[in-house]
């Protein structure tokens, strides 16, 4: 009889496959995990506390730093919360620019995920291809907003800049290019037998688990729940576009992969329509009072970020600073299911499961 002993394995906090500072304590017996304990908080910056002393406009750059892979959606959620409270109307052109920027951000974010996930699984080249194409999106967004990741582009009531001359055209040219690239990605990876045997059936959970654990985004949709805030509780202009919500039934890492890849395609579809519908000129900032003071009361809004449902709660006492601001950060909620998923798994699957959740640690820790 072979005698085995339980041992503790520390993954992280600094580990390339945790995509940030995240620590995982694994109790393993041989190759099998008995218990997994995630340790988070290394990147906690107290955004919510800092924001209590800031005016609303000043909070927007802080939200850039939560989910730094898709800062546009974070910018949007706080602006949307304040606009909902104050009943501000946003000019049409600004709203279209926001949608285009957010969807470009979604594509860029999914590309980073795609590249790094395959890197986690041991495949080098997709990472380079993904970053090549993401760079084009980043260049487009830099031209629009002036920064590569921390855009600080949206303002309460609109956006900071109108699109530069010819920018919409460039986006329109980018869409078919990205479609071709996406087809190439499928050729390179999606049919690859090694990849499929690596992710198929791995990290599986059911629809009921996904709902009970408050998962959102592709993590939820991969189990057969068709839930996308853009469709189910339309905000901004999403009710004007024709797009589908990709859903898979299996609930494993492969299903999540397929969902995200299909989402890129849908985002491109939205961008295409938005570029066609956008009014050729018009103001980009609505009628906003000089001092932004939402009425006394509270609000909660949510939107769909690449990682799931991002929400913003504001309790206002009528002054220019929020009394309390709270962000529902999708990565934080999505990561909760990890101990359950890892229990009884083979240690070789840890990274494949963690990677498929798609977390950004800046967002997990707030």
């Amino acid at each position: 009889m072979l005698r085995t002993e339980e041992m503790i394995l520390n993954v992280g906090p600094q580990h390339p496959s945790t995509h940030g500072v995240f620590r995982l304590i694994l109790k393993i017996d041989g190759e099998i995990i008995h218990e997994a304990t995630p340790v988070i908080g290394y990147l906690h910056r107290g955004t919510e506390k800092i924001a209590e002393d800031l005016q609303y406009t000043q909070i927007i750059p802080y939200t850039d730093r939560m989910d730094y892979l898709s800062a546009m959606t974070n910018n949007y959620v706080i602006c949307h919360a304040v606009e909902t409270m104050m009943g501000i109307e946003i000019p049409e052109r600004a709203e279209y620019l926001r949608v285009i920027a957010m969807e470009l951000g979604r594509v860029a974010s999914h590309l980073v995920w795609w590249g790094t996930y395959l890197l986690d699984l041991g495949s080098q080249s997709p990472f380079l291809y993904a970053f090549r194409d993401r760079e084009m999106i980043i260049n487009l967004l830099t031209e629009l907003s002036g920064a590569r990741l921390t855009f600080n582009y949206m303002r309460i009531g609109g956006v900071k800049w109108d699109a530069p001359d010819g920018w919409i055209k460039k986006v329109q040219e980018f869409v078919p290019y990205m479609r071709r690239q996406l087809a190439g990605y499928h050729e390179l990876v999606s049919g690859n037998e090694i990849f499929i045997s690596r992710v198929k059936g791995v990290g599986k959970y059911t629809k009921n688990d996904a709902i009970a654990y408050s998962l959102s985004g592709a993590n939820l949709r991969s189990t057969g729940v068709s839930w996308d805030v853009r469709k189910n509780d339309p905000y901004s202009l999403y009710d004007r576009f024709d797009f589908d919500v990709p859903v898979r039934q299996e609930g494993d890492a492969l299903a999540r992969y397929e969902c995200r890849m299909a989402e890129i395609d849908q985002s491109l579809k939205i961008i295409e329509q938005a570029c066609e519908q956008i009014p050729s000129k018009g103001p980009v900032l609505g009628k906003v009072p000089r001092m932004i003071r939402p009425p006394k009361g509270e609000t909660f809004v949510r939107i769909e970020s690449p990682r799931g449902e991002i929400g913003c709660y504001i309790a206002s006492d009528g002054s220019k600073e929020p009394y309390r601001i709270k962000f529902r950060r999708p990565s934080f909620y999505n990561l909760q299911i990890l101990p359950k998923l890892l229990k009884g798994e083979n240690i070789a699957n840890v990274i494949a499961i963690l990677g498929a959740v798609d977390i950004v640690l800046g967002e997990v820790d707030g």
Binding site: Q58, P61, T142, G146, W161, N192
Partner: protein
Amino acid sequence: MIGWLKGMKYTLNQGTKEKITYQYPEEPIPLPDRFRGIQKFYPEKCIVCNQCVNICPTDCIQLTGKKHPDPKKRGKIIETYDINFEICILCDLCTEVCPTEAIIMTNNFELAEYSRSKLYKNLDDLNNHVTNLREENKA
């Protein structure tokens, strides 16, 4: 085995594509006009209204003004103006609120220094900083 071979084909095809790597730092990176880098400051334009200090989310601007030396003119002129680039997040809010465009952005982003004290830039540093100025500063 088919899928695997397809992937190989894709990879081989990439060899014929144009190279896209940036040759940085040998060649500077082309940046659009809106890009935000170290600020440029025009002391003569500043009216010491303190708006930039008030809007800065990280409190990294410090300024002092003094009375106009010409007694016939009212208002103040700037005396010292410091930005602490240890904590400046280049968010663009100071340049956005400045009524006279006394502070504007440039495209110079290289802030790495060997000593922390070099990250405190004072009025002269920001005034003598004249390359790659941003042309369009107000939306």
